[in-house]
């Protein structure tokens, strides 16, 4: 099993969700986060003085899938979240050791 974690532009969330649903992923967790990468931040202006916004708002999604599906999940996220502009985000893939569905006690692949 793999855990695919991606940080994407907030307005791309719906497109990413649709892309994942279409390849058979039926669950994800989304979190509002802030951070910076190559995009750094941007400046805003208030009463004539500029100031830096060093942490930009992003959405972090986490998807747990069977190992064989992981590659297609990465492809789906990268094509759906891509704008070609700086700040599109990153995708991280982790090995996943154990999963338990709390309601039934099922574990691992059965719990996905």
């Amino acid at each position: 099993m793999k855990l695919v974690m991606a940080v994407i532009k907030p307005f791309k969330l719906d497109e990413v969700r649709d892309a994942l649903t279409s390849i058979g992923v039926d669950g994800l967790t989304a979190t509002e986060v802030k951070g910076y990468g190559r995009q750094k931040g941007h400046t805003e202006i208030y009463r004539g003085a500029e100031y830096a916004i060093s942490f930009l708002p992003k959405v972090k999604i986490e998807v747990a899938v069977k190992a064989e599906l992981a590659e297609r999940v990465v492809e789906a996220i990268s094509s759906a979240a891509k704008t070609g502009q700086i700040g599109d985000g990153k995708i991280f893939v982790y090995d996943l050791n154990n999963v338990v569905r709390i309601r039934t006690g099922e574990s691992d692949a059965d719990a996905l």
């Binding site: 802030k34 805003e44 202006i45 208030y46 009463r47 004539g48 003085a49 500029e50 100031y51 942490f55």
Partner: protein, 441 residues
């Protein structure tokens, strides 16, 4: 006493523009009807001015951080109430009763005397005593409101309110007696229709002195002197506050005709309303264009300051200018605030809401601009009034601020400033359902 000259000049101005004939044949209403209409004008316009306190409260709430919102709300309703109490205790009598040239009567507790009117005798231009007291009282509150915005987010609640007592009981009424009480500046011919200098600049001088003595908010200026902006929490609220002030200003300037008992005074009041509106519009447009040019973006909060500056600029003479001239007078006010805000920042004078540029600097401009449309006003006399009242207000404010600083202290300690005055001084949050977590990372 200033009313007769205002009417005369207005009629002359109207004649120039062909709006009335050379000899207006106006059928006068009887003296009791005029008395009722004059009283009505004071009451309705006074209620509009009272509503400016709400405008200040919202403008200031919008421009502070949400950790100081409840405190600024409390200060605004408290200062409005204090202004009424002090004006009753000493203010009105100091300003209007038996003015000797430099000060009125020290007798405490004002009370109405309407015996003459109740016996059926109505002086020309008469009105009920309480209507006049009420109308003058709401003006004092306006001067005090100006101070609260400039010193927001770091001044101690009770020290600020103690200063408000001194401002409204001593500084405001004494200098007011020099002009509206018929004192030495009025005799000299100094003209300030609704108080660009008497109300707005006086509040501005007190704010300037307080802001310097109090020092900037923690984190406003970096060690190298760079400005670190501290954005306001709620710009819709700041915008609403500005609109409320704009509405209230029709009462502020319109009521200052001091009469509604004749067609001539009704015409004058209508002209004042129109000019007041156009000056504010001029201030807005000028601030928008200038911030677009200077910063490549329109600055909303400076545009709001532009509206206030336009209003303050026209307040010294809202009756005589043409509409076009009113737009220009207000526009200069809008330019003044946009240029003065960064200038104050260079001097490290931290004025949270832009009260000093909008009320003090635009007030000085408006008082000088009287000479443009009022042929009887003299530039030297206007300047004398500005300087005399400026020195009086600045020196007394500075003395009072230092007395407070070295007795009860005027600034909250650093830790309280960081957690916010709402928690430190009031023990509550203005928006308890939106925790601090949503504001910081």
């Amino acid at each position: 006493m200033r009313k007769s000259t205002i009417l005369k000049t207005t009629m002359a101005a109207l004649a120039v523009f062909g709006l009335v004939g050379a000899a207006p044949a106006l059928a006068a209403v009887d003296s009791e009807t005029a008395y009722i209409l004059n009283t009505f004008s004071f009451l309705v316009n006074g209620a509009l001015v009272m509503w400016m306190a709400a405008g200040f409260a919202m403008l200031e709430s919008g421009l502070v951080r949400s950790k100081n919102t409840a405190t600024i709300c409390l200060k605004n309703i408290a200062l409005y109430s204090i202004a009424g109490l002090t004006f009753y205790l000493v203010g009105y009598n100091l300003m209007y009763l038996d003015v000797t040239g430099y000060i009125g009567s020290l007798s405490p507790f004002w009370g109405p005397d309407d015996a003459e009117a109740l016996s059926g005798t109505f002086a020309e231009g008469g009105y009920s005593a309480s209507s006049d007291w009420f109308f003058q009282m709401v003006f004092v509150a306006t001067a005090a409101s100006i101070v609260s915005g400039a010193l927001a987010e770091r001044v101690k609640l009770w020290s600020f309110l103690a200063f408000v007592v001194l401002l409204t009981a001593i500084i405001y009424p004494i200098q007011g007696s020099w002009v509206w009480g018929g004192g030495w500046l009025a005799e000299m011919g100094f003209s300030d229709y609704a108080g660009s200098t008497l109300v707005h600049s006086v509040g501005g001088w007190a704010a300037l002195s307080g802001a310097i003595i109090l020092g900037a908010r923690k984190g406003k200026y970096s060690a190298e002197g760079r400005v670190i902006p501290i954005p306001g929490a709620n710009l819709p609220l700041a915008t609403l506050g500005t609109f409320v002030l704009w509405l209230g200003w029709f009462g502020f300037n319109g009521g200052s005709v001091l009469a509604l008992g004749s067609a001539a005074s009704a015409i004058e009041m209508a002209n004042v309303f129109a000019n007041t509106n156009m000056a504010a519009a001029g201030g807005v447009i000028a601030a928008m264009i200038l911030t677009q040019i200077l910063y490549k973006k329109v600055d909303l909060t400076m545009t709001l300051n532009g509206a206030i500056a336009g209003l303050v600029s026209i307040t010294a003479e809202p009756a005589d200018p043409t509409l076009g001239m009113a737009v220009l007078i207000g526009a200069v006010g809008g330019v003044i605030v946009v240029l003065a805000i960064p200038l104050l920042d260079k001097l490290k004078i931290d004025d949270v809401v832009g009260a000093i540029p909008a009320h003090l600097f635009a007030g000085i401009w408006g008082t000088l601009a009287v000479v443009i449309s009022d042929a009887e006003a003299s530039f030297i006399t206007q300047l004398t009034g500005i300087v005399a009242i400026g020195i009086f207000a600045l020196v007394l404010s500075t003395v009072f601020w230092f007395i407070l600083k070295f007795t009860i202290g005027i600034r909250v300690d650093e830790e309280d400033e960081v957690i916010g005055l709402d928690k430190a001084e009031l023990g509550l949050e203005a928006y308890p359902e939106f925790g601090r977590g949503s504001q910081t990372l």
